[in-house]
Structure formats: C-alpha cells, structure tokens
C-alpha cells in the first residue's frame, strides 16, 4: 500500500533554517544540511527547502546548499524559491534535487510550468500555492484566492481554477499552503485541502498549520491529502518524526515504518 508522506519543510534565509509565522518574526534554527541529515536519520519520507529570500531579492537559489544536501540524504527533496527560468530548474535538478517547486513566478509566467514539464518531466515540477480564504464571488468561486510574494500580493486568481490550470500545464504535484493556517500550529485547513485533492488528478501535499500528530491524521483521513508538510512542531523539538509516525500507524494511516 502506498504510504502517506511526512515532509519536513526547511525555510532558508541567509544560509540558515529559519521559522516564522506568516513570514514574520523569523528565528534561526540551524544549518540546513545538519537538520536535513537529522530528519533523514529520523525517518522523514522527503524534504522540501524554500530559499525564502531568493525570490524577493531577485537572485538565484543557493546551489552549493542543494549539492551538500544531495550528498547527505538518500531520499527525494524539492527546492523552491528564486526559480524563474529553465536554467534555474536545470541547475537545481543537476545538483541532485528530485523536484523543483514554483510559486509566485509561475503565477506571473505560467509558461514556465509547461516548459519545465516538457524538459524534465512532470514528476519534477511541483506547484506551490498560497491560497487565502476570501468571500465567495464571481471571480473567486472557490472562496480561496491565490496570494504571492510571501502572502503580500493578492492575485485575483481563484485557487481551484489555478490548480486545474497548473495540472493542465504539467505540474506533477501541488503543495497547498493555507495562508490562514500557516505558522499557527492549529491544524491544517481541511476544506481547502480536500477541495484541491478532490478535483485534481495529481498528488496533493497539505501545508500550513501542523501542530500535533492528530492534525496529520485529520488531513489524511478527512482531506485525502497524499502527503503533509511539517515544520514548527519538529523544529522546536516538541515532537519527533518517529513519534508522529507511530501515532499515525496506531490511527491506521499507512506510513513507512523502516528506514
């Protein structure tokens, strides 16, 4: 049986892993390669790295870090932030990442999804999206609007319409990061995740709001997510990955048991 993936997210700022709430009040957590190695040893199923200042600073991603991570872990990992051209994608993949994640820049230039999928295969191209709950309207019939640039910019794009369009363009997976739940550790936004998971044919990764192992059970059971991103709940040491996996297994959620 295909297991549900647990994916620690490492936000990188100035070569260090940081954690904030809605991109604010960031605190430094340590070296990305060391943390990646620790989570790999603890049995995480995949990793994701976001260079959270690359896009705003209009600079390419830190390729040396990608290379070091690729040497340190033997599981798939995705890299996002500052990916705007096929060249950027190629450099990240050749450095050893399994996937590249596009977000703000794909909203500005959706063609990058199509070009990337054609050049490297859909399985490499992940769409990250940051939907915000809004009033249902003719423009936003799903009630969730896509934001970009660290939630600051409202695009006027409907989240469900954008997810469908991105799948048509060739993304192989969608990370749904709820702006409302991000950093709160009060649980995933189930309705949003289920809406996307029910309506696209590619795997959906739930993101934003993980605070307890039970939050993961809820998002797998009630929203049909294929994977879940966790951050603060493990970065702070409050929970460990084996603890989370044991809880999921006891709740009859299929997880990888040996590593």
């Amino acid at each position: 049986m295909l297991t549900k993936r647990i994916i620690p997210c490492l936000d990188i700022r100035n070569k260090k892993v940081t954690k904030g709430v809605r991109f604010q009040n960031n605190i430094e957590l340590g070296d990305p390669v060391e943390l990646a190695s620790k989570y790999y040893d603890d049995g995480c199923d995949e990793l994701v790295f976001y260079d959270i200042t690359a896009s705003a600073e209009r600079r390419p991603i830190d390729i040396d870090m990608v290379r070091e991570v690729a040497k340190a872990v033997r599981i798939p990992f995705a890299v996002g932030g500052g990916i705007s051209t096929l060249d950027d994608m190629s450099r990240v993949l050749l450095a050893g990442a399994e996937k590249v994640s596009v977000n703000s820049l794909a909203v500005e230039n959706p063609g990058i999804i199509k070009d990337g999928a054609k050049a490297f295969g859909s399985q490499c191209i992940v769409l990250g999206m940051d939907p915000l709950k809004v009033k249902i309207s003719a423009e936003i019939p799903s009630g969730y609007e896509i934001t970009t640039r660290g939630f600051r910019h409202h695009t006027g794009l409907d989240a469900l319409a954008w997810a469908r369009k991105a799948v048509d363009l060739g993304v192989g997976e969608i990370v749904v990061n709820s702006v409302d739940a991000d950093g709160t550790r009060n649980g995933f936004e189930i309705d949003l995740t289920r809406m996307i998971a029910d309506n696209v044919g590619v795997p959906v990764v739930a993101s934003g709001g993980a605070g307890t192992p039970d939050h993961l059970v809820q998002v797998f059971r009630q929203a049909g997510a294929d994977a879940a991103i966790i951050a603060g709940m493990i970065h702070t040491g409050q929970f460990t990955i084996p603890q989370i996996k044991n809880f999921l297994a006891e709740s009859n959620i299929p997880v990888r048991k040996q590593w």
């Binding site: 049986m1 295909l2 297991t3 993936r5 033997r74 795997p203 959906v204 990888r256």
Partner: protein, 206 residues
Amino acid sequence: MITIIDYKAGNLTSVKLAFDAIGVESEITDSGPRILKADRVVFPGVGAAGAALRTLNDMKLVDVIRQVVQKGKPFLGICLGTQIIFERSEEDDGVECIGLVPGVVKLFRPVNRFEKVPQMGWNSVRQVSGHKIFNGISDNSEFYFVHSYYPSPSDKSYILGETEYGGVSFASVVGTGSLVATQFHPEKSGKVGLKLLDNFCKWSGD
C-alpha cells in the same frame, strides 16, 4: 567499477551519489565501448518511453545493452530503464521496446479517485523469490516510486517482487539470469535502497 548508462533520460546525479555513499566507484557514460568493457551496468532513466527509445536508437545503444546482458554481466534497470527492457509499452500510443523481458508496460487506471497517477511515494515490495538482490532486506520494506506505467511480464517466473497500487498487484522487481530491474528508485530509497545497491555491487550475476 559501475557504469551508469547516460541516454539523456533524466538526471543521473542521485544514482552516482548513491554509489558514492556506499563507497563504490562509478562512472556516467554514453560510450558503447566503455559500457561493453564495464564489470556491471546500471540502466536508469525517467521520462517518456517513446523519446527514450528514439535516443537509444540514435545513440546506437540498444545492441550494446543486449550484448551486456548476453555476456552475463550484472545489469540493473531502474524505473524507465526497467520499463523499456520489456517488449512493448502502452506509453506514447504504443512503443516497441528492447524486449529483454517478455511482456508489456501498462498505464495505471485506478478506480479509487484517491489513487493518483503518477504513483508518487513509498510503497512496500513483497519478495516473491529469494534473490540475492534482497539479501539483508526485510520482506515488505518500502521503496520510493514515481511512475504512471507499470511492468507486466507475460512469464510470471520473471517476477522477483510485487507491489499493490491502482487496483493491481504489479511486478516492482523483475529479473532473469544476470539481469535485475526495479520499478522503484533504490538510489532515493534511504538505507534500504543503499542496501539493495550494495547487494547488486556484490552479486556475480548468477
């Protein structure tokens, strides 16, 4: 020395890094003579079968691969490399493949809407033979898969391991003689994957 065949089908960095991690020297090459001289050969790949076959034909590597297997050198197919050693694939409206293993490669057609295509993630492999590639690996260990098509050998004696997905039990590991091939990615399957690669490096192909 492990020789990794480069036919422009995806990224081979992870394959090489995995051999580095177990202390085995490897080289990535598209040279037919070098592949024929190798002690053991890895045939990886991601992407579409049609384009992969065209490239292999253009690079005149299909006969090289046949010769490697005929000579009885240990040969490891991975993912797309595993699919295109079958006779035919349903991908790209039907593609004639290399034909080292009898059977076809089929598209997942899940009836359960929560089973997505591609299958992406960790799934367990039930060992149906005591092949040396599984030495020291527990039955039903999980490996990392990313694929929309799955191998379906017409002769069941080729099946070494099986996995459930999309309403079918498919051949996730196949083999015959000195050839062994996995649908999953051992190079991205953590310590269990490294153990399988290490077993391959120590296997004489018998």
